[in-house]
């Protein structure tokens, strides 16, 4: 049993087998930090890279992410107080009036796989709830998703509220009708067109930790 087995389980989408592998590795005394970094974050970074290269596609990213999540269920109770600071804290949601979440869920998975602590508020989330959650979690980044042109105004409103809140937070946006130009227009800190780019953007915005 080794961390390489966990790494391989993510890469081969062994969603049903990875929990047992992770348990065994913890029992064997391997540090949870190593399991997280080398067994989960590393393969997710590789998946993200291959997606960006056009080798892997959305289903493979989703399977890798779901496989990683199964391992995280086992790992999480052991993580508190035992790991260095995560890459950052992200609150993510689909904006008010919009129920679409496939892209948002994938971004959340990739961010978690990238070592971020992610608080996913789901869909149809009003501005006030996002502002409050950003405050409550001391979020570094709020990631907003919209799939309808009719909910893009809600994205603009939420961004404005977050950027004028007492505590500074970065805002990144995405979704099918959203563009880099729109992101700039509404004062967001960045636009990401997919999960791996969201991870890259988040890391760029927050710098090394």
């Amino acid at each position: 049993m080794s961390i390489q087995d966990i790494f391989n389980a993510v890469i081969s989408y062994d969603r049903l087998g990875i929990a047992a592998l992770t348990e065994k590795e913890i029992t064997a005394g391997t540090s949870v930090q190593r399991i997280l970094n080398q067994g989960l974050i590393a393969p997710m970074d590789e998946v993200g890279r291959k997606f960006s290269e056009g080798v892997l596609f959305m289903p493979e990213m989703m399977m890798a992410g779901q496989t990683m999540k199964e391992a995280m269920k086992v790992l999480k109770p052991h993580l508190v107080g035992k790991v260095a600071s995560p890459a950052g804290t992200v609150v993510i949601a689909t904006v008010k009036g919009d129920l679409h979440d496939i892209g948002k869920n994938l971004v959340a998975l990739m961010l978690e796989g990238g070592g971020f602590t992610v608080h996913d508020l789901g869909v149809d989330v009003p501005t006030e709830k996002l502002v409050e959650e950003a405050r409550r979690t001391q979020a570094d980044i709020v990631a907003l998703s919209a799939l309808l042109t009719t909910t893009m105004p809600a994205m603009a409103e939420t961004t404005a509220a977050l950027k004028t809140a007492p505590r500074e937070v970065r805002v990144i946006v995405g979704g099918a009708p959203v563009t880099e130009a729109f992101a700039q227009k509404i004062g967001a800190d960045g636009y990401a067109e997919n999960g791996p780019k969201a991870v890259e953007l988040a890391r760029t915005l927050l710098g090394p930790r």
């Binding site: 892997l56 596609f57 959305m58 289903p59 399977m63 129920l99 309808l148 009719t150 009708p177």
Partner: protein, 369 residues
């Protein structure tokens, strides 16, 4: 000009383009649903109250837009989305405020056990039970699809000289199953029980096109819509696309054409990487309708001599742009994608909050060209 003559002339423009002939001018087809409510100053709840009411409001909206040679579809009901996505749809005036847009509420209404059940029951029987027990089960009797006034869509539009192209809609087993299982559930099925999924798809496919085609022909519509969104090659690896998406899409298109109808290939998302495969479809019998994600200029190079292209004024341009920008893009399309085998249209629906002047600009550009 008499409306009958107007109807026939407008339809000829579209049919000539579909057959890859050079029409007298580039036809412009309108595709919208929610936009109709905004344009006509009606509430969204009013718009979805029945298909008959939706038709009335869509006709009002066309007058506001100022023209258009044909309608892609002539009526609308959120229930149609329930059949395409195997999901409940939250609607304005019921679960949503009166002026919110309806939204598909994707939940795992299908389980893994249903793949075998589909084969045991047959798709028609399974679908009837699924829709009654899991999708429309909590609808009041008066709001069930069979109880809503439908009107006569084709006649209503014909009375103002506007042909309606689409007499029915079909989509592939992949779209249906990914809706019913949810995207995440379906993807895990593709990876963990692929043979079971494929067997269910084989069982479903023969039942999809025939009913829609028969109804379209009987009512005198020239086309049936064959839709793909999650089946786009940008969404799936080549291996998954070759096994679970393309063979079924191709089969449905061939069935539609064999029934003597035009297949409107409604392609959401990005299909650029596999445009070459569309040369396998019957030439001069399909309209490839692109939403702005696929590279329409590459489509012209790769399949422009084989299939008519329709589109692709982007939703974001119609919402955020100005009329001059819309006109420039439309002129570019007419110039570079036409004159043969091209129909100007928005990329998918004109979005609900598109500027009316932008929709007008799109129509005017075609009429003035």
């Amino acid at each position: 000009m008499e409306t009958t003559q107007l109807l026939q002339e407008r339809l000829k423009l579209v049919l000539d383009a579909a057959a890859l002939e050079k029409p007298d001018r580039t036809p412009v087809v309108l595709e919208y649903s929610a936009f109709a409510a905004y344009a006509a100053g009606r509430s969204m709840a009013d718009f979805v109250s029945s298909p008959a009411r939706a038709t009335e409001i869509m006709i009002e909206a066309r007058h506001k837009v100022g023209g258009g040679d044909a309608m892609n579809y002539g009526t609308f009901t959120p229930h149609s989305l329930s059949y395409l996505f195997m999901s409940k749809v939250r609607t304005p005036g019921h679960e949503l405020p009166d002026n919110d847009i309806w939204q598909v509420d994707e939940k795992e209404l299908m389980t893994r056990d249903d793949y075998d059940l589909i084969r045991e029951m047959g798709w028609p029987g399974f679908l009837d039970r699924f829709m009654a027990e899991r999708v429309f089960n909590d609808l009041p009797e008066a709001l069930r699809p069979e109880n809503l006034p439908r009107g006569n869509t084709r006649r209503a539009w014909a009375e103002i000289g506007v042909p309606v192209l689409m007499g029915g809609d079909v989509t592939t087993p992949l779209e249906l199953l990914s809706g019913g299982r949810t995207m995440m559930g379906f993807i895990t099925d593709l990876f963990e029980i692929p043979d079971t999924v494929e067997a269910a798809m084989e069982s479903i496919c023969p039942h999809l096109a025939k009913v829609a085609c028969r109804r379209a022909k009987a009512a005198g519509f020239p086309a049936v819509w064959v839709g793909g969104w999650r089946a786009a090659p940008s969404m799936l690896s080549p291996a998954l696309w070759d096994r679970f998406a393309w063979p079924y899409f191709k089969r449905l298109v061939e069935e539609v054409v064999e029934m003597g109808l035009i297949a409107i290939l409604h392609l959401d998302a990005n299909w650029t990487s596999r445009l070459d495969r569309f040369r396998e479809l019957p030439g001069g019998r399909c309209i490839m309708s692109l939403d702005g994600e696929t590279d329409i200029f590459q489509a012209k190079r790769i399949v422009g001599d084989h299939l008519c292209l329709m589109g692709d004024v982007p939703a974001a341009l119609l919402y955020l742009g100005e009329p001059a920008e819309v006109r420039d893009y439309c002129r570019k399309l007419i110039r570079e994608i036409g004159p043969e085998g091209f129909i100007l249209q928005s990329g998918c629906d004109i979005p609900a909050n598109a500027k009316l002047e932008n929709a007008r600009a799109m129509v005017e550009t075609a009429l003035d060209a």
